[in-house]
Symmetry: C2
């Protein structure tokens, strides 16, 4: 059983409308995954996450392996049970976080050793360990362990990282196949009953690195595709290269990945980034922006944004986004939310996280609708213009 | 139309089962009011507050007059609209907070002048101002402005405070009557449609002070009853005097208040305090404990408590309270909640606030059921013994 079906392809762009099947149900693509770093999407209960329309979320192997640890996650019934989220979960491999959060990191061709940012203990992570941890937690989509190079990086450094990422991807595939043979996957998720007619195995996604070096991206893509994975991710973007460079790299790389497999752009992004990447043929996204910005009193609006701490909202009886169907907009005024932020009431961050998550899911639903209707290309260009105007 | 009907009286105690009618609907008593200090019950959305079974909440005049200010509350459609809470709200008068939070407080026979704890500005509060602010915010139950004496206090100090509280209560009643004649109360709550057959005016509650000096309590009670109010509150308790002293004072004072009016014990308290006070004939309570303790990883359980940061819960797949029907207990394990607190995830405080608020409302529902069944007295003594054991 293949995990991905393309049900519509746009004629004016590379956008496609698909369905991704996992062990915990199906996901309509293009899809946005809210980020539950340490097993919780910050600031909200899963009840609001479901109400937002999210069908899949992301959790971080790096954070969870340090706290509470893979044994505890297993003892608590697996990641789905811990998070009270009975739908698909994608776990990243920890690669990105090791390089951004780990201290005293030592990297060699086998993997990485680093000091935990929590308590300083030395921890080792490599292809086999990262795959095993994700598998034991009960992840629906396991990401290959990769080396994410910080920008700027010289060509030699990028090439070395790409070579390791390729070699580690091969090892991840071998490791997961071995685990699948020896483990009864059902055990880690006993209390969670997957819907009928879904996959009984985790998916494994390979990651294409290469920075903004298009030649290197092409070579990486060819190598990773050659190994063969359920899906393909573009890593190492949204790390400071800017919208234009990111889009250029995605436009070049996405068509190099097989059309009958899902394409995932890691850590992206702003609404304009998502629109442009869907245009280029990307199917999946994750980003902390809806919740992180929500906690900082920043609300997403169509074609723009609202800063709720601003004193212009003091007496405003408008909802954050007129017409929005989220819990925040149906019940609270801008003035009330400004007041909550002003008093450091948790309700401010809670409400804007709810709104922003709903905003993102509505954006994805609109994207899917326009692909189905066959007018995505034209619509997306108009939308992009609005956002680019606002971003300036 | 009278605001309070006693529908059952317990034969083995002074407990009564009543119905309190306000401009925003009825409240079944004995009732517990969660505290929404600055216009938000900390850590949760009103959706969970409603799901807890709460029928009435408390908001603080002191906090709201400083931030966002009474004009802003009015401009935002009144307190109910600001809080997204379409049921009764009781507002305290600010008296207690002036003495506990205000700085450089100057008190005279007219009222109090203090420096705002937010920005240091000098603010004046007296009977007329406190009544007007509560009325303009759209409060359903207005509390008289009182002087709350910190413990310990000598007799002369207590007597002076009691005399002022009496005089200020008289002035509050006069002030509200004047405002009712000149103001169209409907305007402050245009967007909120009160249920049919409810009062169209705010209720005014007098406050009995007197510390733990029973003679002074009696004189205060007689004076306040002599003025005549919709309901009567016992103030100046739960300020460090301890359970026994508090109960002794309540047992002595409650019967001095007219039986056909609601009795409200301000700022109380722990489950055992509530059980003992209902036994003595008290109908209403408010306290920050369910939410404050929830934020500190402390969960209320029948006859006890649970500290979720404790490492014994690391691998626990039990819910916080087995059998509890709250969102937290239906979806999350103790181990997961401990992990959230360990990682400073907002979800920990959110979930335990949800549980504790539901715990308190279930306690009140049980109390009401036992009064209806006629076995409250016996049941309450058994329950009290459990709590007293645990408190030791």
């Amino acid at each position: 059983m293949t995990c991905f079906q393309v049900i519509n392809a746009d004629s004016h762009s590379a956008a496609r409308r698909g369905v991704l099947t996992t062990a915990h149900g199906v996901v309509q693509t293009p899809a946005f995954m809210p980020v539950g770093t340490a097993g919780a999407v910050k600031g909200i209960t899963p009840q609001y996450l479901e109400a937002s329309g999210a069908e899949i979320i992301l959790a971080n192997t790096y954070h969870l392996m340090l706290r509470p640890g893979v044994e505890v996650v297993q003892n608590l019934g697996g990641l789905h049970r811990l998070m009270a989220w009975n739908r698909p979960i994608l776990t990243d491999s920890g690669g990105y976080q090791v390089f951004s959060l780990g201290e005293l990191t030592k990297i060699d061709d086998d993997g990485v050793e680093f000091a935990s940012h929590v308590d300083g203990t030395r921890v080792r992570l490599n292809a086999e360990i990262a795959t095993e941890i994700q598998s034991r937690m009960g992840s629906d989509i396991i990401m290959c362990f990769d080396e994410c190079t910080p920008l700027p990086a010289d060509t030699a450094r990028l090439q070395q990282a790409a070579a390791r990422t390729f070699e580690w991807a091969r090892r991840c595939k071998t490791a997961l196949a071995g685990q699948q043979r020896t483990e009864d996957r059902g055990q880690t998720a006993d209390s969670i009953r997957p819907p009928a007619a879904v996959l009984r195995r985790p998916l494994l996604f390979g990651i294409v690195q290469g920075g903004t070096d298009l030649d290197l991206r092409r070579r990486c893509a060819e190598q990773i595709v050659d190994i063969g994975f359920d899906g393909y991710a573009l890593g190492g973007l949204s790390v400071g290269e800017g919208h234009e460079e990111m889009v250029k790299t995605v436009r070049y790389t996405a068509p190099l990945l097989p059309g009958d497999h899902p394409r995932y752009l890691m850590g992206v992004g702003m609404p304009a980034d998502i629109l442009a990447a869907v245009f280029a043929g990307v199917d999946m996204f994750d980003c902390v922006l809806p919740t992180r910005n929500g906690r900082n009193a920043f609300a997403f609006l169509p074609g723009g944004a609202l800063r709720l701490r601003n004193s212009t909202h003091i007496d405003s009886t408008e909802p954050v986004q007129p017409g929005c169907d989220c819990y925040c907009c149906r019940h609270f005024t801008r003035g009330a939310i400004r007041h909550f932020f002003n008093c450091d009431e948790m309700l401010g961050p809670i409400l804007l996280s709810i709104h922003n998550l709903r905003f993102y899911q509505r954006l994805m639903a609109e994207i899917r609708r326009h692909i189905e209707q066959g007018d995505f290309g034209i619509w997306a260009i108009q939308e992009l213009e609005k956002y680019v105007e606002t971003d300036k």
